[in-house]
Subunit: 291 residues, 2 copies
């Protein structure tokens, strides 16, 4: 298929490469133009703007940092809306506001351009290996047409509902990890101050109701007080902001997510925003007098 790909960051770069490798014709654009070079060397065409990239495309993939960035590349002066042809499908894989997603979809549809939202989880490793989990919102037909492209990037592709539903699902993911990371941080800190062998403790509880991906893969970071990436605190904080905005719109109370947001504000003010989100353990350790 003819694919345009806008946003070649840590996630987008390897995702675009996987689409190329699957045999699709890919035209790339990135705000920092030099990042297009590695893709061009693998056979991608380059375009001067999102609008130009979109011109010939059947499917246009966007993956940028936040809601204003998505609005810029989709609706801005040189945005996709000014280049995409009628019937083209925009697949926004950024993690952004569900409400903004629905607004953009409405504007695109006035021009006959379709949109699905398809945020991902699985990190840079999943992007490279093509094993991302992709949470998809949109019309059944549109989703089906994009599958050859989505399957080049992800392993678990689940259509959860209409436009915006993918973003709500991603928000749910970030809400759940918030409380899991925080409670693992609290539990680990209690055990450390009690002088326990924390690896034995983890072994004792991991098979039961306390078991989780976070306990298995990140509790050791709290024990060692080292937080290598992973997934940055500042990106999780951004995603929680989106989740809390959605909660306000929908009338949902999320005290645990709000608590984690506050602790992450504190981490960022102390320049820990680029540590892994397990650095919630750093916050709890510090507040408990353990440096």
């Amino acid at each position: 298929m003819k694919v345009a790909f806008v946003g070649l960051g840590t996630m987008g770069g390897p995702m675009a490469l996987n689409i190329l490798k699957a045999g699709h014709q890919v035209t790339v654009y990135n705000r920092t133009r030099e990042k297009e070079e590695a893709l061009a060397a693998e056979g991608a065409r380059r375009a001067e703007s999102p609008a130009k990239a979109a011109e010939a495309a059947e499917i246009i993939v966007t993956i940028v940092s936040d809601t204003p960035d998505a609005e810029e590349v989709i609706l801005g002066e040189n945005g996709i809306i000014h280049g995409a042809k009628e019937g083209a499908i925009l697949v926004d894989m950024s993690t952004i506001s569900p409400a903004a997603t629905r607004r953009m979809s409405g504007k695109l549809s006035e021009k006959g351009i379709k949109m699905i939202d398809a945020p991902v989880s699985g990190g840079s490793e999943g992007a490279q290996l093509g094993t991302l989990a992709i949470m998809v919102g949109g019309d059944e037909d549109d989703v089906r047409k994009t599958l050859p492209v989505l399957e080049a990037m992800g392993k678990t592709i689940i259509h959860v509902g209409p436009i915006g539903a993918g973003q709500v699902t991603k928000a749910i993911n970030q809400i759940i990890i918030a409380g899991t990371y925080l409670s693992v941080a609290e539990g680990m800190t209690l055990g450390i101050k009690a002088g326990l062998d924390m690896y034995k403790v983890i072994e004792a509880i991991r098979g039961g109701a306390a078991g989780s991906w976070v306990l298995d893969n990140r509790a050791g970071n709290v024990v060692e007080n080292e937080y290598p990436l992973g997934f940055r605190v500042r990106l999780h904080r951004k995603d929680l902001g989106i989740a809390l905005e959605a909660a306000k719109e929908l009338g949902v109370t999320m005290p645990c997510a709000a608590l984690v947001e506050q602790i992450e504000n504190g981490l960022m003010s102390q320049n820990y925003g680029d540590e892994d989100v397990s650095a919630l353990g750093r916050a709890i350790r510090k507040q408990s007098g353990l440096e």
Copy 2:
């Protein structure tokens, strides 16, 4: 071995039966004496008091509801301390205060009675099947001597540290499930109010960083707004109280555990204390205008 078993509740009854079935000689005592009858029918002896039960025992197992109950059967007027012989080992499998555990151990040691703490997880099903996880604190030698009895009750038996360490480990378990249940409740409620198919959402996120035993086994309770047992809110609330007391003693800050404690106070005041702890979802749903 000659075993005394004090406390034949939902957990203790089947645990004592498993010790009997493993071929040990068991003498039982329960405050509500009728509960001894089922065990007696299987070959257990009955005693008139914890002290009497302990008289001939090499190993004395206790599993009662809370710290004051443990103090009563161990140190009270007819308590184990007045009957147990020198060299006997008390295995307290209740979930109680680590500090109280160490105090009781000190008093017992003045009489030459040893003590280990060995709280469990795995619920009534684990008690019946003999598949409990047992978190053990105490001296290496004492723990080794009790293994034939512990192995009749549990599958995962991990010695985490000195006396009290088992209780701290259990507290860590309860702290971690607190935040996991709460954040799953918040995420599910957001998705329900957004109108998503929540079973598809769970499928989309369960393989990644949001994955947990709680998400796999209890998130559906929040979706259905039904909270069958499981593990009672009031018992988890009791255990969190122990954890928060330990946090105060050790100087640890646990904002998420404290938040869950408050929400559980609210659930209990509305007569939901005997629902499963996943009823944190009921609280979040109610606060979000979903009955």
